[in-house]
C-alpha cells in the first residue's frame, strides 16, 4: 500500500538535512555566489521538486550534496547530513562510498554519463561491484532486474548493447536503472527529461514516480519546468539567485504562491488559458550572480516591491512548514 503524504511525513524520519549551504565560485571577475544559504529538509521517501531558471543555483545545490563541486567552486559554509552522517566531514573514500551507493544521481544528458566503449552490462556490473561484495553473476541478475523495473523490453539484449545502439529515451532509462542498482535512499535527478520528447518524458516521470513510491526512495528532481514537478513532487522549492525563495507542498506552491517570483513563473507558462492574450512576463532578466542587488535579489523585477525590500528578506516559516523569503508576500501580510 502506498501511504498518503501525511502518513509518509509522520512515520518517516528526516533523511537529508541541509542548513545554510553556501557554494561559491572564485573567478577572476569576482566571487560567484551560486548557492547562497540553502536549507532543505527531506523526509524518507519524499519527492522534492527543485525549480529555478538557469543560473538560479538549482543544479549546484544538487552537485553540492554529492560533493561534486570542482575548483574554483567550493562549499564555503553550511552543514549537510544524510541519515545522521555529516557529509561535510567525508574524505574521498567516504564520498566514493556515498555516491552511487546511498545517494545516486541522474544527469541531464545520458549520452555523457554512459561510457561509449563499454557494453551496458559491464557498466552496470561495475556500478554494483563498486559498492557491494557480489559476484558478477549476482550483479548481472540485479542489473537485469532493475532494467525490467524501469520498463526496458528484452533486457538481456539491451545488456549486450553499447550506448550508441540505444535511443535517447532508452539511454536515460539505463541511467535511471544504474542509479537504482544499489537501492539508494536518495536519488538526485538533474533535469533528467529535458533532453527527451514529451512522450518519453511522460513515460520516465511515470516510471520514476512509481519506483520511488514502491521502493521508498527519496527524490530531488531538479528542473526549470514547474509543470513537470507539479504532478510529481510532494513539495516544491523555488530557487532564485542562489536562494530558495519559496518552499511548500506542490498544491500550496501552484495554487497559492506567496512569493511574487513564483507567481510570475506560474503565469508565464503558456497554455490554453493564455491563448489569444499576452503572456504575463517577468520584466528584465536574472541578475548576474557576481553583483547581486542589495536586499532581495528579485526586487528590481518585482511588481510588489516595497521600500523594505532594500533589506535582505528573512526566511519566514509558516505553520505546516511552508517557507518564503519576501517582505511583501502575496495573499496577506507576514504572520
Amino acid at each position: 500500500m502506498i501511504p498518503t503524504d501525511n502518513a509518509r511525513a509522520q512515520d518517516a524520519g528526516s533523511l537529508l538535512s541541509i542548513k545554510g549551504l553556501k557554494t561559491y565560485f572564485a573567478t577572476r571577475a569576482g566571487v560567484v555566489k551560486a548557492v547562497d544559504g540553502v536549507d532543505i529538509e527531506l523526509a524518507k521517501g519524499e519527492i522534492l521538486g527543485l525549480v529555478g531558471e538557469s543560473g538560479s543555483g538549482k543544479s549546484i545545490t544538487g552537485f553540492s550534496i554529492l560533493g561534486l563541486i570542482d575548483p574554483p567552486g567550493r562549499i564555503v559554509s553550511g552543514s549537510m547530513s544524510y541519515n545522521g552522517k555529516d557529509l561535510t566531514a567525508l574524505d574521498e573514500e567516504g564520498w566514493r562510498q556515498l555516491r552511487g551507493g546511498d545517494i545516486a544521481m541522474i544527469f541531464q544528458d545520458p549520452s555523457m554519463t554512459l561510457n561509449p566503449v563499454l557494453r551496458i552490462d559491464a557498466q552496470m556490473i561495475e556500478a554494483m561491484q563498486a559498492h557491494a561484495n557480489v559476484g558478477p553473476a549476482q550483479a548481472y541478475a540485479r542489473a537485469r532486474e532493475v532494467l525490467v523495473m524501469v520498463g526496458i523490453p528484452s533486457p538481456d539484449e539491451r545488456l549486450r548493447s553499447y550506448p550508441h545502439e540505444l535511443s535517447g529515451g532508452m539511454r536515460q532509462r539505463i541511467a535511471i536503472a544504474i542509479a537504482l542498482m544499489n537501492k539508494p535512499g536518495l536519488i538526485i535527478a538533474d533535469e533528467p527529461t529535458t533532453a527527451l520528447d514529451v512522450s518519453i518524458q511522460g513515460q520516465i516521470i511515470h516510471e520514476i514516480k512509481k519506483l520511488c513510491r514502491q521502493v521508498g526512495t527519496a527524490l530531488i528532481w531538479v528542473t526549470h519546468d514547474l509543470a513537470v514537478v507539479a504532478g510529481l513532487a510532494d513539495r516544491i522549492a523555488v530557487m532564485y539567485a542562489g536562494r530558495i525563495v519559496e518552499l511548500g507542498t506542490a498544491e500550496e506552491i501552484i495554487e497559492n504562491p506567496r512569493h511574487p517570483y513564483t507567481k510570475g513563473l506560474i503565469e508565464s507558462v503558456p497554455s490554453r488559458s493564455t491563448r489569444g492574450s499576452r503572456l504575463h512576463q517577468i520584466p528584465g532578466m536574472t541578475p548576474s550572480l557576481l553583483n547581486l542587488p542589495q536586499g532581495c535579489a528579485f526586487r528590481e523585477r518585482c511588481a510588489y516591491a516595497v521600500s523594505a525590500c532594500g533589506d535582505e528578506p528573512l526566511n519566514t516559516v509558516e505553520a505546516g512548514g511552508r517557507t518564503y523569503r519576501c517582505w511583501n508576500p502575496l495573499g496577506g501580510p507576514r504572520p
Partner: protein, 337 residues
Amino acid sequence: MTTQPNAEAILEFQGLTKTFVTPIGVIGHVANLFGARVKKTEIKAVAGVDLQVRRGEVVGIVGESGCGKSTVARMLAGISSLSAGEISYQGVRLPDMTREQRRAFDLGVQMIFQDPFASLNPRMRVVDIIGEPAVVHGIVKSSEKRDYVIELMEKVGLSGAYADRYPHQFSGGQRQRIGIARALAVKPSILICDEAVAALDVSIQAQVLNLFMDLREEFDLTYLFISHNLGVVEHISDRVVIMYLGKAVEVASTEDLFDNPNHPYTRLLLDQLPLLEARERDYQPIIGELPSPLDPPPGCPFHPRCPHVMDRCRSEMPQLLPVGPDRVSACHLNAPV
C-alpha cells in the same frame, strides 16, 4: 487536403519530400567487388506533406524528434533542397517564378533558429549581423544602415546603444531578439520559427512569445511555428499540424485539435502534456518509441504504438481525409470499410 480558395494561401506546398541518402562510398564499392552487397541507405525524413498557409495565420507544427518538422522548415526557408514536391508562394509555383518573384520569395520567408548561441556569427558586431542582409539586398543604403538597425533593435526590445557589441555580450534571450531583428531586416512576410523559444528560460520565453505576437500585428506577419512544446503551440497557433515519422497525421484549428483530438497519436500526445496542476497524475505513457525512419513500419507509421490498432493499419497507409470543417486526419478509424 481541404481545398481552400487559393487567394488566401500565402504559402502552399504539396507532396513535400526530403530523402537523405548515404552513398556507398569508396570502401563500400571496393567491398562490393568482393561481393559484400553494401547498399546505399535512404532515409525519408519528410514523406509527402501538404499544407496551405493562409496570410496572417500562425501554423504550429508539432512532433517528436525525428518526425521531420525541422526538415520541413529548412526546405521552406530554402536551406535544404526538395527531393520531391512543390512550393507555391503567393499563388506562383517555385519553378514558374520570374526573377523578381523568386527574390520576393527568398526574402519573404525568413527563419529564426533554435540556438541563439550558434546562429549568430561571434565575430560580427550586432549592427552588421542585423544590417548586412538589408544592405546586400538593397533595402537600405549603406550609409543608413546604423539608423535602420537601431530602429529594428528597439522594435524587438533591445537598446540601440548595444549596436556595436558582439553576440557574446548578450544573454540567451537577447540573442534570440537579435536573431529576430536580423530576420525582420529584409521585410519578410513569413517567419519560420524552428524551436525558437526552446532554449530559453520560462520567464524569457514568455517575453519572446509576447514579442512574436506584437510583431505579428505590427508587420502583418505569417508564422510557421515549429515546436515540440504543446503548451507553446497551443498558446500561439491558429492551426496545428501534428507530424509523425515524416508525415502529417492531423491538421486542425487549435481549438478543435486540443478540445477534440481525432488521431490516436494526437490524443496520446495531449495526455503527455505536463499541466500546471498540483494533482497526482496518472500518466498513461505512450508505449514504445518513435520507429527509425530507416526502417518505417508498413501501413500506418503509428500502428506499433497505437492502442486502437486494427489489421488494416498494419498493411494500408491511411490518407489524410476530412473529418470536419477545415480539419483532416489520417486514421483508418475515421473511414470504416
